[in-house]
Every structure is written in C-alpha cells, then in structure tokens.
C-alpha cells in the first residue's frame, strides 16, 4: 500500500485553479523531490496532505486512511514559513513536541542542538533567522515519522547551512520512512533523490526514478527541469 495516495485532487480559490486533477502515489522508503517553479502548487499540495487545506474534489489517503489524527501522528512537517511560537524557549518547544507526538525523541533533539552550541533555555525570538530555521528542522527531524514533508527547506540559505540541512535530513530520517522535499533549487539536492515529481501550473508533469531519468535523457535532473520549464 502506498504511503500517500492522491486521487483526482483539485483545489481552487474562487476561479483561480491551483491544483488540477492530481493523481499521485508516494511509496515507502524513498526520498522524493517535489519539483516545480514558484507558484506551481507545491505548497498547496503539501498543505492538503497535512490537513491544512481542504480539497475541492478528490481524495487523499495516508496509510489508507483519510487525513486526520492518525495521519498527523505519522507525518512530520516543516512548513516553508516560521510556524512555532517564538515566545517559547527551545526547551519548551521540545517539551511541547514530546507532549503531543509519541514518536518524538527528545534525546535526538538535544544532541542536535548541542552540535549547534545552542542553549536550550534561549527563546527563539532572540535568535537569527537561520538559527530559528535550524531549530525548526531539528524539531521536525527528531520525530520517528513514516513521512517527512519538508517545504522549501533550503530556500534562501547559504551553502554551509544548506549542507547542514541536507546532512541533518540524511542522518536523522527514520529507517523505512519516506521524505518529500519540495524545492525549485534542484542541483543542490538532486543527488539525494530517489524519485522526482515535476509539478507545473497545478498538474503533475513528470514523475520517475531519478537515475532512470538521468539515463534516459542523458542529463541531470536540474537540466531536465530547465528544459521542461523553459519560459
């Protein structure tokens, strides 16, 4: 059974159609790139899978069940924007996560924080933007989830931070779990992807195994992307 199955998912705001008939299966144990230019519908699709948006039609199943408490238990989600209460200290946030998520591992979180030389008693609003993002990533990756959904985790960061983020993802994702990484910066992450999903103007444009695509097209995923999405 697919981890996530989207069947005919449509989403529009008024007359503005964001997602058009998305059919998709996310298998277990894969790192998947959700690739598309800005405004192609990546974030909308991700928010639907996380239960933050309602579909207009179509169904989304996670482990065969509709989006709800059970799907939220197994999905660890990093939104593209800051989403925790910045009045809380890192320690409070860790307690918050471990109170609500059975699969949250505080030890992992503290170990990762130690590497950043962060004082757990510091409040988030005293930290730099980059540090806040790292803390949020640590919280998300410290869960032993079935599916990690990371929305633009490397958007607008410097190369050192990018390496830190990719390292943290690769080191900490749960065995047998899948990871969905949405991005428009493909060359930075393509070597860690098993599969890619190209999304364009709200429709799935191309899906496939990353290495097979490289073989059949003789190009890097980034080049294929540039080719397909040429303006």
């Amino acid at each position: 059974m697919a981890l996530v199955k989207c069947d005919g998912v449509c989403k529009s705001y008024g007359k503005n159609s964001i997602l058009k008939n998305i059919n998709l299966e996310i298998p277990k144990g894969k790192i998947i790139g959700l690739l598309g230019p800005n405004g192609s519908g990546k974030t909308t699709l991700i928010k639907i899978i996380n239960g933050l948006l309602e579909t207009n039609s179509g169904t989304v199943l996670v482990n065969g069940e509709k989006i709800g408490i059970n799907s939220k238990k197994v999905i660890s989600y990093l939104p593209e924007r800051p989403y925790v209460n910045f009045n809380m200290s890192v320690k409070e946030l860790i307690n918050y996560f471990s109170d609500f998520y059975d699969n949250f591992d505080s030890d992992t979180a503290y170990k990762l924080l130690e590497k950043l030389n962060l004082n757990p008693n510091d409040k988030l609003n005293t930290m730099s933007k980059g540090m806040k993002e790292k803390v949020q990533l640590i919280l998300v990756m410290s869960r032993k989830a079935d599916l990690y959904i990371l929305d633009e985790p490397i958007g607008g960061v410097d190369p050192a931070t990018r390496d830190y983020i990719l390292d943290t993802i690769l080191t900490n994702f749960n065995d047998g779990a899948s990871v969905i990484i949405s991005t428009h910066l493909i060359s930075d992450i393509e070597k860690i992807l098993d599969e890619v999903i190209f999304i364009k103007e709200g429709s799935i444009y191309l899906t496939g195994d990353a290495d097979e695509l490289r073989t059949s097209k003789g190009m890097s995923i980034d080049e294929i992307f540039r080719e397909e999405f040429k303006c």
């Binding site: 239960g51 948006l53 939104p79 209460n85 009045n87 609500f100």
Partner: protein, 262 residues
Amino acid sequence: MLGKVLKYDLKSMGKSLFPLYAGLIVLALVLKVISFITDSVSAFKFVYNIMFIFFIILVIGGLFYTFLVSIMRYYKNLYSDEGYLTHTLPVGTNSLLFSKVVSSLVYIVLSVIISFISIIIVLGYNDVVSVLKEGLEFFSLCFDMSVFSIAMWAIFFLLLSYICYVLMVYAGISLGNMHSKNKIVFSVIYTVVIYYITQMLGVLLIGIMFLVNPDIMSQLDQAIPDKEYFIWIMGCGMGLNLVLLFTCYFICYNRLKHLNLS
C-alpha cells in the same frame, strides 16, 4: 489530549496575564500604604486620588484585557502561522476548541478573583462585602431564594454571558478566515453582525413575551416584581444565551473542520 492542549493554552495566556495580576496586587498594596500616610500627611491625599483612579482603570481595563488575551490566543494559535503547528498535532478539533473556551473561563474567573482581592486590599474587607451582600439580598427577595443560591445563579449567569461574548468573537474570527484577504477586517464585520443578530433576537424575545403575557411590562416598572415573572425573564435570557453559545461553538467547530489556512 485535551489536558495537554489545555496545559499549553493556560501557560501561554498566563504569560500575558500574570504580569497584570502582579501589577494589580502591587498597586493595591501601594495604595494601602499611601492611605496610612495620608492620615498624617494630608499632601499625600492628592497622590492617593490620582493613583486610585489609575487603580480603577486598571481593574476595569484588566477585565477587558483578559477578554482580549482569550481572543488573541484563539486567533494566533488557530489561524495565524502558529496554526501550521497546532493543526498538524494529532489532536481532535473539539479538544482544540473546548480548551480555548475552558481557558477563557479559567482566566476571567481568576481575573475577577484577583480584582476582588485587590479591591478588598484598598477598600477594606467589611465595606466590600457589605455592598455585595446588599445587592445579593435584594435579588434574593426578588426571586425568593437564599442568598447562596442567588450568588450561584449570578455567577453562572455572568459566566454564561461572558463565554457567549467570547464565542461570538471566536465565531467572527472563524468566519473572517474564510476570506483570503482582509481577514481581520472581515472577522470584525462578522463579529458585529453576529452581535446585532443576537440583539435583535433579544428584542424579538421580549416582544414575544409581551404578546404572550402583556402583564410583563407593568411588572418591570415595579420596584420588586413578582418572582415568577422575574424567573421567566431570566430564564428566557439564559435560554437565548445557551442557544447562542451552541450556535457559535458549532460555527467555530465547522470552520476548523473545513480548514483553509493560508
């Protein structure tokens, strides 16, 4: 899970409200100290009066602030960016909503208690209690009930009205967030609309009561109306509030079930 949600709602609102409580108690104690000095140094009388006015403003403002903190918590936790976290917790919609209602009640009760304590510090126990007692005794005569049960009913009625107002704003915010732009403006508009609808229902209810029983109006003019009419009017008021409470709760619940967080 309700317990955990409640824990964090109470904690977060507490961060905003405990400084107020500390301020009230400290100001009350300062006033008390100054009042001792004014007995001997009359120049302090002026300072005392100014501070007393400030104290009264703080008490009334504090209650309003408590209301505001409840509303802000609802908006921030459920409909701002923080909602991305709140709504991806494995928690049911009812737990999220019910916790907000309960924590609003907890803090208004606490705010009232702290206000009372600070007033007692300033004015003295006997004065405050005798004023309260007079009021309650008047109503106990009206309803022909014991002072204790009147006090209980009064508390229940006040809390019910308070939570109705809170839920009205919650419902307004919930409806306002159906729009993709100007959410806050729409939230205010919806809240005002809901408020006027309830006011109209209230007027309508009095009208119906008058039609059913024309004697009611003449009863209202009397200093101490007949007990059964009084109970009737209060009962209708409470009934209306309960209907309002469940309607607003349902609106909030329904909107959270069909969430569209942008």
